[in-house]
């Protein structure tokens, strides 16, 4: 069965620096990091100490609340450093990698013969359980729960996101194996941008077609239109590139964390793809930027990614790095100018919307806020970029007010921060909507536990 869903609301931000479709470099990592902070509300404890030897697939962290869920090393090597923050909060486990990777052998699997429990057990002991994200709240999936479905978005509409077809070329067999295995746990739904997708032929999944501007590729938006999450229900999601890694585990018995990463952004020099593993250091990408400029290094895309800094590491779920200029400069009478050719606005109060008809242009966007924070004033800009039948501003206000009943009513179960990222982008009042939503979700986790 296939459904076509056309979304009219959304916005593709014309930011420059899309990755050229070529692999510029294969990175043999020197140091990789495993960061418990990549997972919401995770309480992790260490399974290793500094100096220990690990293989690719050896446990490094253990979930305190469910000891079966482990987080494993993507490379073989020795534990170089355990980085802690305030109150000894565990921030990073850094592993000095070997030149050649040695893998833990989890055994090649015959997917047809596996049952749900066996799939769960294999994913948990290999560390790939962490790829499964549970909604509501976007936490690592609870293996005891039975999700009503597992959703996969087989395309990304996020600004400058890695092209799935290119980054996962030749991975069809692995993705097929992963879909078949996850299908034992719950029905799998996959959403494509068109029937021409290289992965459209995957068997065992309910297929949907979504067309429209960003965030049509966000799995949260897709779930909302296919099967909205009600109170008490859970849905799991997993990204395409992590499906490929799960597939490799099933087909080869190894946790092979290799992924194709898009290095993008207005300040990326010759943006292109690299082959690397999860958790690589930003410094391994040094030919992509000129560190003498004031830059921001984002793991993920420019709307939802995390500022990790030049010394930071790629986050667990990400396959994109965005390099932006820190826009800490003043602009004289910026708001009063009739045109601002160097900035972009989707608002009709500037005339980029007319210019883009005449000649589409890409803009070197930087991190300037372009204004001061105000109360919500304008009411109709948010709905235009939010293709869900919910009320984004009412939800945000409920989160600000910490009103759990209202948060529930306005759909906190259905969204993660990323789904409202565009609302934040267009907000003329410069309100940090994603932060409020994150605080709301954390409150829900605490109160509903």
């Amino acid at each position: 069965m296939s459904n076509n869903i056309q979304l009219k609301k959304g916005l593709n931000i014309p930011i420059s620096g899309a990755a050229d479709q070529s692999i510029r470099k294969v990175i043999v990592p020197d140091v990789v990091a495993i960061k418990p902070t990549d997972f919401r509300a995770l309480k992790a404890k260490l399974a290793v100490k500094e100096g220990d030897r690990v293989l690719a697939g050896s446990p490094v962290l253990i979930n305190k609340e469910c000891a079966d869920i482990v987080f494993t090393s993507p490379v073989s090597g020795t534990v170089a450093e355990v980085v802690r923050g305030e109150k000894r909060k565990l921030l990073e486990v850094r592993i000095k990698a070997d030149q050649a990777v040695e893998y833990v052998d989890f055994g090649k699997q015959d997917v047809k013969a596996l049952d749900a429990e066996a799939v769960k057990a294999l994913l948990m002991k290999s560390g790939l359980w962490a790829c499964l994200i549970e909604r509501p709240y976007g936490v690592v999936a609870n293996p005891a729960a039975t999700p009503k479905a597992i959703f996969v978005s087989a395309f990304s509409t996020a600004p400058l996101a890695a092209e799935v077809e290119f980054a996962l070329a030749g991975e069809l067999a692995n993705i097929q194996a992963a879909v078949s295995a996850l299908g034992k746990i719950a029905p799998v739904h996959m959403s494509f941008a068109s029937e021409k997708s290289a992965f459209y032929g995957v068997e065992g999944a309910t297929r949907h077609i979504f067309t429209g501007a960003h965030p049509a590729g966000n799995v949260g938006v897709q779930i909302h239109h296919v099967s909205p999450i009600q109170k008490g229900e859970t849905v799991w999601t997993v990204t395409m590139h992590e499906l490929a890694i799960i597939g490799r585990l099933l087909n080869t018995g190894k946790y092979d964390a290799t992924r194709t990463i898009a290095v993008t952004g207005p300040k990326a020099i010759k943006p292109a793809y690299v082959k690397a593993v999860a958790g690589i250091a930003i410094s391994a990408l040094k030919e992509f930027f000129d560190a003498s400029e004031g830059l921001r290094y984002v793991s993920g895309d420019c709307l939802t990614g995390k500022n990790v800094g030049a010394e930071g590491f790629l986050s667990f779920h990400d396959n994109q790095v965005t390099i932006l200029k820190e826009g800490n400069e003043y602009e004289a009478f910026g708001w009063a100018k009739p045109f601002r050719f160097k900035q972009f606005s989707s608002s009709h109060t500037y005339f980029h919307w007319i210019l883009s008809w005449l000649s589409p242009k890409q803009y070197d966007l930087d991190t300037n806020l372009h204004g001061g924070e105000r109360a919500f004033v304008v009411s109709d800009v948010y709905g235009k970029v939010f293709p869900m039948n919910l009320f984004p501003i009412y939800l945000t206000k409920a989160c600000i007010a910490k009103d759990i009943d209202k948060m529930e009513k306005f759909g906190i179960y259905e969204v993660l921060e990323e789904d409202l990222a565009l609302c934040e982008y267009v907000c003329p009042s410069k309100i940090n909507i994603q932060q409020y939503i994150a605080e709301g979700i954390e409150l829900m986790i605490k109160e509903m536990a």
Binding site: A332, S347, H348, T367, N368
Partner: protein
Amino acid sequence: MNARNIVDKIKPTFEEGGKLGFLHSTFDAFETFMFVPNTTTKTGAHVRDCVDIKRVMIIMVLALVPAFLFGTWNIGYQHSLAFGLGWGFWNMIWYGLVKIIPLVLVTYIIGLGIEFTSAQINGHEVNEGYLVTGFILPLIVPVDVPLWMLAIATAFAVIIGKEVFGGTGMNIWNPALIARAFLFFSYPSKMSGDSVWVGGVSRFNEIGKAWQAGNGIVDGFSGATPLSDPAGYSALDMFLGTVPGSVGETSVIAILIGAAILIFTGVASWKIMVSSVAGGLLVGWLGGLVIPDAVPCWYHLIMGGFLFGTVFMATDPVTSCQTECGKWIYGFLVGALAVIVRLFNPGYAEGMMLAILLMNTFAPLIDHCVIESTLKKNAKKARIA
């Protein structure tokens, strides 16, 4: 950049601990007026759209400019007619400016003064919303309103209408209309009747002389607005705006230019404008069936403050409905109520102000109903799926 260097040099004086640290908000307001600040995103989306509230507000002010310019000319034109002066164009503009600039100065000085003080006390940034309110206010009062009354009304509107709720974005009623309502109910003799709409007439009636009054009021001059005397003016006069009335409300053409700017830039909701006009027309038409000597329903659109209210005040994004469906309902009721007041309340010819204020009050209720019904439908759909 030169100007930037100067600002950087004096900035420490106004920062916390500086000599003039208590004027921090004021300095900040002027600084951000001249320079888009250098703040970068700290959380969430790393890049942001370059639109901000200042941009939205300046577009609203721009949209009001045609009505303002026409109003300025019309003040002179009406005065020249009333006193039989036979002035030329520039003479009318000059008289108009002399009359209107004090009104603008009073609203801005009083209003911004309160805004700056309250920002200072609360330690937050100065909101831009008053730039629009202060510009609308002179356009919706009779030209001869005494300045001290305007000052009190402005202060009332900014303090009670806005700041007590937390400033721009938090207010329930349109602040400019609060000021007008305050004037209307406190000083009705200066806000209605036949003598207040043309510059100098009320003063001449009271003391027998007025500035630039020539030989006195010409015979046959009525001073009534089209609302109280619809037969006295042709539809074309009302469309062009060469009739007495509040300063900015008379010219349909000037208001339509403003409406075009607002709709083109997406600053104000076209849904509210369209539905308000529809509501006004429908009730006007129904009224025509009930009341034998009622004016044609489309007269309501070009008389009095209906169109000005529809375009510039009902569409205020803060006090109107927030939901798209709610905007249709809200606009329709604004238009319908305004014409109902006009038709059935002979004591008060203008219904727009009360209609908008009343619907401002009910806008959250409309939103509530729209949201409830949408969420109910969502839940139903989810059960089926």
